[in-house]
Subunit: 340 residues, 2 copies
């Protein structure tokens, strides 16, 4: 996109200008707009709901991902939103925009991928709408239960809480760089396959999210915009600041390897790359190590205590402490489709 | 669209080829795919869910409808799906595809229309996703309760039941013809305004749907594809045939007037026009007149006993008996975006 094509505002600005049209928390609505998902009260039962739209050319490319991958991802990104609330996905519906030149067999491949993701996370694809359009796009809505009875908000982080990251950081961004030729390295090794899969078949950490909710997480968000921006969202919602330690971030060796070969900064990939669908949670400091371990084990992924929640005050909401002790503002470092 | 651009199958064919990928009725899923909406069981509470996608140039035109109208319609069409299950809408989420040249102020007009529709039917817009795309499109998912505890399916019609239509037929099609110049008549009179509104601001008959469910409707569908096609869906799902009486159909005088002036067949507008969002229901014959009256009163619209459900057998699933006693097959007469 050329700079001249850019609208004057980014996605976050757009969201803020649409917020007045959306319902806030209230009677029958334990969680309104502004979190990873909304939560409705249905006669005393909580129902979690999230929607994400993937558009060809903006969110996926058919030369980078298979149609099965794209279907998988459309479900996975919503499951990740629910995971960040401590919700177990139960059902999905899909609104599909189908260009006339895409044969039914290819649409069936999208549905195959959606079905694989639904099987992976224990939900069912219960319906949808398929319409003619010029561009291929999927709008998936996922519903879920809150087994613990208490959704985990972005807004509950308290000064003194420890910050955890569950799941590897930077892998999806490194995988996308590999897939699109932005990383000049061997695409064949097992590390490359892992990174490419992180982009093409992201894993929603549903079991980890349930574990974190059960173990008293005070705030949670999925890392979809980039760790820096997403921590910024938590700080803003909770009215706190936060500090991350660069050395503690769970950045896989493969990400560092690709970054080194390609002249990319692994911290940029980890903090600003987006789409890792790791979970970032605030938890009571006393139990942080044990909670991180349990959450990582729940989904078989890395997990680490990466920082702490600070009192509100002046200065950037979220900073990253580098190895040399200097601090870097990361609260605006994120992934924003509108500004790309 | 040129004939050469057409895919080999219509929307109904596509739906049938995607059906194997969707969940059927089963444990925890009182109503799976294939009805107006799905119904989930959430710890004993039923949650109804439907999704509809509207795409610019396919489902709406900005020179025919305002952005507020388009937002309204995106919510209304889903509320109509829920109405046809006997469900009360409670919440909506929206996935919005936004071209870069559409200013935020215009997106806010879409949200204003969605908000007006949500206020009209007592639901809340609780969240969404807004992404960059080349075409303007809205994918709205609506959730609802089933106050009567029993969703009304397409599949429950029994031979001997009476068929009711609640709400006027042909008005939306006549309004679209007026708006797009396909009807050569005066656009200024009160009748024209009513017909244009039927296209631009369709009314979901939620109160009527609840009334029909409470009064024992055995099957129900909203008339979105055209009365003939939608009755065909009910016959297919219920394993029955059906007969409609042309003289009994609630076709407003304004529709007949526009049709007469424009060389259109009012029965074609009423049976094949689509998008009326009337309700078609099967009810026990003994109480049909009283049920029709109560359902019409619930939403302040016309309602009529229009035919009867027949035993399965040879011949077309749905026929229309004309004034001269001849029968016409209407089960394939409907609205199919892919074949337009």
């Amino acid at each position: 996109m050329n700079a001249d094509d850019r609208p004057p505002e980014g996605e976050f600005e757009l969201i803020s200008r649409l917020a007045p049209f959306l319902a806030s928390d209230g009677e029958g609505l334990p969680v309104g707009h502004g979190d990873d998902a909304a939560v409705l009260d249905v006669d005393g039962r909580q129902v979690c709901v999230a929607v994400d739209v993937l558009v060809e050319g903006v969110h996926f490319r058919r030369d980078v991902s298979t149609l099965e991958d794209i279907g998988w991802k459309a479900v996975a990104v919503n499951c990740s939103d629910l995971a960040a609330m401590g919700s177990q996905p139960t059902a999905a519906v899909v609104g599909l925009c189908r260009p006339r030149d895409v044969p039914v067999a290819e649409i069936q491949r999208l549905y195959t991928g959606m079905g694989e993701a639904c099987a992976r996370w224990g939900l069912r694809l219960v319906g949808g709408d398929t319409v003619a359009a010029d561009a291929l796009a999927l709008s998936v809505t996922v519903l879920g239960d809150i087994p613990g009875g208490r959704p985990v908000r972005r807004s509950g982080a308290r000064p003194g809480d420890a910050l955890l990251v569950v799941g590897p950081l930077g892998a999806a961004a490194a995988g996308l760089a590999l897939a699109t030729g932005g990383a000049a390295t061997d695409h064949e090794g097992p590390e490359a396959a892992t990174l490419l899969a992180a982009h093409r078949r992201p894993v929603a950490l549903v079991a980890a999210g349930l574990e974190l909710a059960a173990r008293g997480a005070t705030a949670m968000i999925d890392v979809s915009d980039g760790l820096g921006a997403d921590l910024g969202h938590v700080c803003s919602a909770s009215g706190v600041r936060a500090r991350l330690r660069a050395a503690a971030l769970p950045i896989p060796d493969a990400v560092r390897f690709v970054a080194a070969r390609s002249g990319l900064d692994p911290l940029e990939l980890a903090c600003g790359g987006g789409e890792d669908f790791a979970l970032l949670a605030a938890v009571p400091a006393a139990s942080a190590g044990a909670v991180a371990e349990a959450a990582g084990e729940a989904d078989g992924v890395v997990a680490a205590v990466v920082g702490e929640v600070l009192e509100p005050g002046d200065g950037p909401a979220a900073v990253l402490v580098l190895a040399d002790g200097t601090e870097r503002d990361v609260s605006d470092l994120g992934f924003d489709h509108y500004l790309r």
